[in-house]
């Protein structure tokens, strides 16, 4: 019996082998490789022969004058993205739900999903063009109201908000999908009963619609907790310049410059490990909370 069972299971184990090997090489070996954070890593010497320096890379990091500014920029941009990335799609989904299943609704949906599918290279190019202070479309439009040209991508007062707003613009539409799905599960007879009781539209939204999708809102909010240190490398890398390092440089862009431009591998890895460990704790907590509150399971 046991042998038969084993024979039946063997193909299942075999199906996992290629995936296990690939993940081992390209995900688990780099995890082990992050011990180079404690080395003065030199590529020609490799992981085994580079000199161990203890916590020196971390000390160097925490003494860097930019480090705390970069950490603040990261958290500031990421947290605002999380907050508005929740509110805007919920509001738009509720408004979209008010329109019946019409052709107009389908067109609106198609259009607001569009920016999600384009890369930040493409959208970076688009934004650099339309946000230009000299003759970009946006500043020309603002000029109609006698507003002086704003240097959105080169002014430290504007840059973080340009980043946050353009990210919301890119993702709000796609994020409505889960809320729209949740809205369809609300029982229509609840609204009918509310109308008989004389509840107006606001009342209906507050006491039926929002409570109806609250579990999904809580789930999405919890899961987004893991992104507190993810301010969006792809976006910022394609929109920032030395002019706005002060307000727009984030952990990931700093890791890139220290590691791949300055070739200070040990320091960059230390910075990466710092970020990975905190993110790991946050993601674990968020999944655990999602499991406790919303009975969410990853698999």
């Amino acid at each position: 019996m046991l042998k038969k069972n084993y024979k039946k299971q063997l193909p299942l184990h075999l199906m996992l082998v290629p995936g296990i090997i690939l993940v081992f090489i390209y995900s688990y070996i780099p995890m082990v490789g992050s011990i180079m954070a404690f080395q003065k890593y030199i590529p020609s010497k490799g992981l085994f022969h580079s000199k161990w320096v203890g916590l020196k890379n971390f000390h160097y990091l925490f003494d860097m004058p930019d480090f705390y500014q970069v950490l603040w920029n990261t958290v500031f941009i990421a947290v605002l993205k999380i907050i508005f990335g929740l509110i805007v799609p919920i509001a738009v989904a509720i408004l979209l739900n008010e329109i019946g299943k019409t052709l107009v609704k389908r067109w609106i949906q198609t259009l607001i999903y569009l920016p999600h599918f384009l890369s930040w290279v493409i959208l970076g190019g688009v934004l650099i063009d339309i946000l230009s202070p000299s003759n970009g479309l946006v500043n020309q439009f603002l000029g109609l109201f006698s507003i002086k040209p704003i240097f959105f991508l080169g002014d430290n007062n504007w840059f973080p908000f340009t980043i946050i707003l353009s990210d919301i613009w890119k993702e709000f539409g796609f994020s409505t999908i889960v809320y729209l799905a949740a809205l369809t599960t609300i029982n229509p007879s609840l609204y009918e009963a509310a109308v008989i009781d004389g509840a107006n539209r606001w009342k209906q939204t507050w006491s039926i619609t929002l409570p109806g999708i609250l579990p999904v809102i809580i789930l999405m909010a919890t899961l987004s907790l893991g992104n507190v240190l993810n301010a969006g490398f792809d976006q910022i890398f394609n929109l920032y310049s030395p002019l706005v390092y002060e307000s727009g440089d984030i952990l990931d862009t700093l890791i890139y410059r220290v590691g791949l431009i300055d070739a200070q591998y040990g320091v960059a890895t230390a910075l990466g490990l710092f970020k990975s460990l905190i993110s790991f704790a946050l993601v674990s907590i968020s999944y655990w909370l999602a499991y406790k509150i919303a009975d969410y399971r990853i698999f």
Partner: protein, 294 residues
């Protein structure tokens, strides 16, 4: 919601339609503008008089872009990575999701295997060790560097395994009674029934490969091996932002290659613009399955 017939209710409907249509238009206008610039003459574009309709209509920018050797070379690299990368990723996702969709009784260590994969989305070694690993496996400067390291998309595996689990068990049992192996059951029963899900992750994978630019930028030493997105990153973004003074950056949009940049942006976006609307039905379903499964 129940439609009211009062004045307030009518006013709300007018406001709501207007607002949502404006929102949708805002998602499209920047691209229409870029398209209009790409079809305008240099003079008109530099003068900043092109809005949403081309001025002095011309195909010159497109002719220039499509005759550039580097552009065509990088397009070819992208075509290769999309085809090979998607094929490999889809094959592995379909294959890995099947055993993981079984219960712990049907597959020993099932939970352990699942965590082995899921752990990689919770924790990563970071940029530098990842780069060093790819370097020491000798993939630098080869197309395989863009395909193999990311060949197991764990999110897609999870999405697919959740779909597999929703399939009726009876079908599988009937197949086993008829003497079908796991391999046959997977390809003859699971895969045909999972097409909505497979279309979703297929779309995500194709878009992901088409859009990926950072890996090409750092893993390819020679520009000849850049995929299109990496190439566009260097000619559209890097050329605009790196090492420029405030004054130069301000005048950026007035330099003469604005129309050429616009044409390149549009060509880079075109395949996606052409395909995603037709797959809307699928990715909406896929997102819902992946995001909220109750």
């Amino acid at each position: 919601m129940v439609e009211g017939k009062s004045l307030g209710s009518k006013m709300f409907r007018v406001f709501n339609y207007t607002f949502l249509i404006l929102l949708a238009v805002m998602c499209l206008i920047p691209l229409i503008h870029i398209f209009a610039v790409s079809l305008s003459s240099n003079v008109a574009a530099s003068a900043g008089i092109v809005k949403l309709w081309p001025k002095d209509f011309t195909f010159k920018s497109y002719e220039f872009v499509l005759s550039k050797g580097e552009f065509l070379l990088s397009l070819w690299v992208t075509v290769k990575r999309v085809v090979l990368g998607t094929a490999l990723s889809m094959f592995l996702s379909i294959l890995i999701a099947y055993p993981l969709s079984k219960s712990g009784r049907e597959l020993k260590f099932r939970t352990g295997y699942a965590w082995y994969f899921v752990f990689t989305i919770l924790f990563s070694g970071g940029l530098i060790p990842w780069y060093m690993t790819i370097r020491s496996t000798g993939l630098l400067d080869s197309i395989w560097a863009l395909i193999i390291p990311g060949a197991v998309p764990v999110f897609n595996v999870i999405l697919l395994l959740n779909f597999y689990r929703g399939l009726p068990k009876e079908l599988e049992e009937a197949a086993f009674v008829d003497g079908a192996s796991h391999w046959k059951t997977l390809w003859r029963i699971y895969v045909p029934l999972s097409m909505p899900s497979i279309a979703t992750i297929g779309l995500f994978t194709v878009v992901g490969h088409w859009n990926a630019w950072f890996d090409g930028l750092i893993l390819m030493n020679s520009q000849d091996n850049y995929p299109l997105s990496s190439y566009l990153q260097t000619v559209i973004v890097q050329a605009s932002l790196t090492n420029m003074s405030a004054e130069q950056l301000k005048n950026l949009a007035t330099v003469s290659d604005r129309t050429v940049k616009a044409a390149q942006i549009f060509v880079g976006a075109l395949p996606i613009l052409a395909f995603y609307p037709f797959l809307q039905k699928y990715f909406v379903k896929g997102m819902v399955m992946g995001g909220v499964k109750e």
